[in-house]
Amino acid sequence: MSEVQVRGLTVEYQTSAGWLPAVAEASLDLRAGEITGLVGESGSGKSTLALSLLNAVPAPGRIAGGTIDVAGVGDLTRLTGKQLRKARGGSIGYVFQASQNSLNPLKTIGKQLLDLGRSHEVADLRALIARALDLANRMGLDGQRVLDSYQHELSGGMRQRIGIVFALVLNAKVLILDEPTTALDMLSQASVLEIVRKVHDENQLSTLIITHDIGAISEIADRLAVMYGGRIVEDGPLLEVLRRPTHPYTKALIGATARITGDVEAARALPGRPPDLTTVARVGCVFRDRCPFAVAVCAEAEPPLAAWEGERRRACHVEPTTVLAGTPAAVGEPA
């Protein structure tokens, strides 16, 4: 059952060259009990997609088309004012990029929690505090101390966890984490991800984790979606996508990952640069300039994101078997 259904979502930004799509025709399901990882390079539209799930694309951007159906809320793109405000935090918990900086420096955590409760017209603030304490304790924080602290009295990892507490304290069933491990050291990264998995399992959430770290996401996600140039180019169950990537970009991305064991030289950088809003191809496949498999049709038609082998989807003109066989020498095999 899908908690969130994104269909044909297009998000545009106004530039001097007119309205350009940062996310084009994206379709994605977040299912209850599943962690979906969304990976892609900087500028691939991951964060824009995530923000549009809150209907909070900052100006000069706008949601130009598509629907975002959230269970119990309806189409989020049509909500405005108070209804939208209630959905944010109430139905969808969002942990922001660099959420270490997401706390007001002048107020204690407990005070900010009460602000959140009042803003959402929570009747029983005591129960809210109790729930926050419970969440914090389960994440390995000393809840009592934390609620009495100012943000500068807490470490980066602790603040990150507070961000998750805030996102979940109102019983949101959907949790979105935008780059939850960026700017944390390796150990904090591991513990934050472990906590996300734990909280996710305990509350049967639908979780979306946005990251550029394919290594970190492979630790905890159930499904993987890969974005490039504002398009979702491949998605499917995590292990299947990692073991048998059928989109040249996914394959290259996995091939570029350095591993702790094995030969460091085995990691191959992807040649070329990722496109930005103004340089992304308008016609044809957005990846064709960097694609070792590109054929003539790639320049003419954009490949649709089509179902393949049961639960998987891919957007590529080239036959999956060709990509899997991996003939072109430019792309390294995953070690």
């Binding site: 935090g89 660099a98 900086n101 002048l106 407990g110 100012y150 996102a167």
Partner: protein, 299 residues
């Protein structure tokens, strides 16, 4: 549930925010304490001073008398006690300055915050209004208004000075709000569905509070100077005694510039203004710490 209650109670006891923070910030450096004492002294003078004196007693036999046991600061052109005039004149001067500063801050901060946070059309409208206010020439307006109003009450003077004075504050606050609204915790507040009013007045306002408060106090100095100046120049008719009227009389009637007779009469209000300014400047030092918990902790 029991633990939650305990936490709330404990935090209330442990933090006791406003009062403890205030005491700590003020007593940290002696200068701040002196500043506060000076400010409190003048506030009390403005409130209670007139209670100790009845109507201005006029002693025609002692014009421009030197200081004596009876008249500590001597007398003026009409034989009135200068000390009494300084004390009773404080109320009008301080009330006007406080009201002007209050109106300036109220309009300036509110309009600046709303414009900076909302941006777009709201911002454009509010900023055009601000530009309009910035271009109103205050002095000529006061002269024209003085043909209608007597400015006998601090409210009238305070309102006029305040309403013509908030443009600069609004612009400065808007600039801060524009930067503040992009900070992570405000993005998070929007993402968590906090209301706009809450974000503007409960999240952004405390973050610019040190600036707004300093602005309020510094503008009090400026408004004291402005109104005293207006009276000194004789641009507004005076119906009561205040520091500006005293300066005017000392210079233009008493000839304080030529003879030493009226010197004390001239110096008394000037010294008052100087000391009040000193008090405010010394106290300003404590304001950052009042609002920022991080600065408060530094030993």
């Amino acid at each position: 549930m029991a633990t939650a209650t305990a936490t709330l109670a404990a935090s209330a006891r442990r933090r006791r925010p406003a009062l403890a923070a205030f005491r700590k910030a003020v007593t940290r450096k002696p200068g701040r304490l002196i500043g506060l004492i000076i400010i409190v002294f003048f506030v009390l003078m403005g409130i209670c001073g007139p209670w100790f004196y009845g109507r201005l007693a006029v002693d025609p036999n002692a014009l421009y008398a030197p200081p004596s046991a009876k008249h500590w600061l001597g007398t003026d052109f009409a034989g009135s006690d200068v000390l009494q005039e300084v004390v009773t004149g404080a109320r009008y001067v301080l009330a006007t300055a406080a009201l002007s500063a209050f109106f300036t801050s109220l309009f300036g901060v509110t309009i600046g915050l709303v414009a900076g946070y909302q941006r777009g059309v709201t911002d454009s409208i509010l900023m055009r209004l601000t530009d309009f206010v910035l271009t109103i020439p205050g002095l000529p307006l006061l002269i024209i208004l003085s043909t209608v109003w007597s400015f006998g009450s601090p409210w009238q003077m305070g309102l006029v000075l305040g309403i013509t004075g908030w443009g600069g504050v609004a612009r400065a606050v808007r600039a801060q709000a524009l930067s503040l609204r992009e900070r992570g915790f405000l993005e998070a507040a929007r993402g968590l569905g906090l209301s706009r009013r809450h974000i503007i007045f409960k999240e952004m306002l405390p973050n610019i509070a040190p600036y707004a408060t300093m602005q309020l106090m510094l503008s009090m100095i400026a408004f004291v100077g402005a109104e005293v100046g207006l009276f000194f120049l004789g641009l507004v008719p005076f119906s009561s005694t205040n520091w500006g009227v005293m300066l005017n009389q000392a210079v233009f009637s008493g000839g304080a510039m030529e003879t030493p007779d009226a010197l004390i009469y001239l110096l008394a209000p000037l010294v008052c203004i100087l000391v009040l300014t000193l008090g405010i400047v010394l106290f300003l030092d404590a304001i950052d710490e009042l609002f920022n918990p991080r600065l408060r902790e530094r030993a």
